[in-house]
């Protein structure tokens, strides 16, 4: 399980880093959102994942509390996801505004047009 998570994180970061280095704004934004997902997966994996139960305590359940997955990282991840959602939306609005101004979202073009 931990191997799978590691590979996933590595793949996400690699793809994100590649995308961030592109010239198009949209690809940069996508790259950033991939990288933040990698960080989120990392937080989840910092709690115990393994074979644990989902951390929801129900009435009359006789599950040993020790066999639950640690809920705190998941709460943190939820917050982090909300934040990255908001930032991505903001970046998209910015990119759209740049696009409306100069009809391109290519960073090199932006610099050239600015002179």
């Amino acid at each position: 399980m931990i191997w799978l998570l590691s590979i996933t994180i590595g793949f996400l970061v690699a793809t994100g880093a590649y995308l961030v280095m592109q010239r198009r704004l949209l690809q940069v934004i996508l790259g950033f959102s991939l990288m933040s997902h990698a960080a989120n997966v990392m937080i989840v994996s910092s709690g115990w994942v393994g074979d644990g139960f989902t951390p929801i305590v129900r009435k009359y359940s006789d599950v040993d509390p020790a066999s639950y997955v640690d809920p705190l990282p998941q709460a943190m991840v939820l917050t982090a996801i909300v934040i990255s959602f908001a930032v991505t939306a903001f970046l998209l609005v910015l990119a759209l505004n740049v696009y409306k101004r100069i009809e391109t979202d290519d960073m090199d073009q932006v610099r050239r047009l600015k002179g």
Binding site: F32, F90, L94, V98, K114
Partner: protein, 491 residues
Amino acid sequence: MNAMLPVPVILPLFTGIIVFLFRRSQRWQERISLFSLAVNLAVALSLLNATAGGEMFFHRMGLWPFPYGIILAADRLTGTMLTLAAAIVGACVVFAEGYLSKNERREVFHPLIHFQLMGIQGAFLTGDLFNLFVFFEVMLMSTYALLSFYYNLDQLEMSFKYTCLNLIASTLFLVGVSFVYAQAGTVNMADLSVKIRELGPNPLMLLTAFVFLFVFAMKAALFPMHLWLPSAHSISPTHLGAILAGVLVKVGIYAIIRCATLIFPQPFESLQPVLTVMALTTIVWGALGTLPQQSLKRILAYSTINQLGYIAFGISLLSPLGMTAAVFYIVSHALLKSSMLLGAGLTQKLTGTVNLDEMGGMMQKAPFASTFLLVGFMSLSGIPPLNGFFSKFFLLQAGFTQGAYLVTGLVVLMSLVSLYYNFTTYQRMAWGTGGGEAGTAPVSMYASVGFLASFAVIFGLGVPWVYEWSQLVAAQITRPELYIAAMRNAL
């Protein structure tokens, strides 16, 4: 007092919402906003007063048991920083009233500035690492929006750059949190301090501390990550530049102090050379960067980088003496640099430009504005009766006491460079020739600049008291066991 701790977070939040709902009526928006800022300042002052005796305050949100839940904490450092933030943001809003002409996107300005204040004050107050991240993000998100205030192309591009850099930092912050959580199983600062001490030195913890140093250095614009600062200062509206230089970068510094003293004291001892090199490079880069600049705001921005290097140098000494100097420097620099940026905005409003060669002869045309700037420049370059001299003096004293002669000598050399650039800048601006007629500016702008600039003189005359306060703060923060014990007692 404990129940009052959430107020600096809740009050700006509510004000932001109410001001947003009042966006049709600018007059009411202003009134509510200023009233709330005044109350906020009063709360911050009372917190400062309450923490003066060395007592610490804690507030558990939702009354969750100790290591869980959201904890707000206040000690002397928090009180100091809160007061600074409240005063500077208040002055900047007063300034913005005059700076922005009517109907100029104010309906977004007031709510955003209050959300930003909420983030800033929350970051100062919070007692756990993850909520530090959350409040950072609240603060940064409103900053992103404020940076692209007029939506022109320069601002859009700069805002994009700033957002991307900070996104990298935020991602790394999360990575750091996951490292910490995987090793210590908690994110509460006091709990972390104990757990990390128990774990002892290990390479992974060193790496974690380095990640956090990198993240906060990005916010504090230390050397490898300082590139966003000059354009952010010069392209954004002036009042935002003042908040950036006065408060936002100080949030990064504050977080570094907390890491170095409370959370990772041992890893930071190993990281001390890194921090020192970062600080020195920042000092050199900032000082040399000012030389080719034409714009007053860009000069001030590079000067900010320079000064941040001094503060980081003080922290990198990792001793009570160095911390005292750093705290003194933070206080004086925050007030000073925000007053100078506001002064630059004032001259911009008067002359319509920030290019030094186009101003020329400001001393005749706008005596008040250039007097305020004169005070600032004199203080920055370290003329004795003003606070800039003392902040550098204490820093050098701390450096020499600890035997870091070579490094401190370099710092002395660089302060000579800063002496040079400050004088040439002021000379070009105030006594040069050329430039058009000066316009007029509202009294509120003069008042806010004067209010902040007066602290340069007041702190210069009242050095003993300020220094004593800095010593008290440093004495408290360099002994993390006090913090831990207080939190355990309170909760």
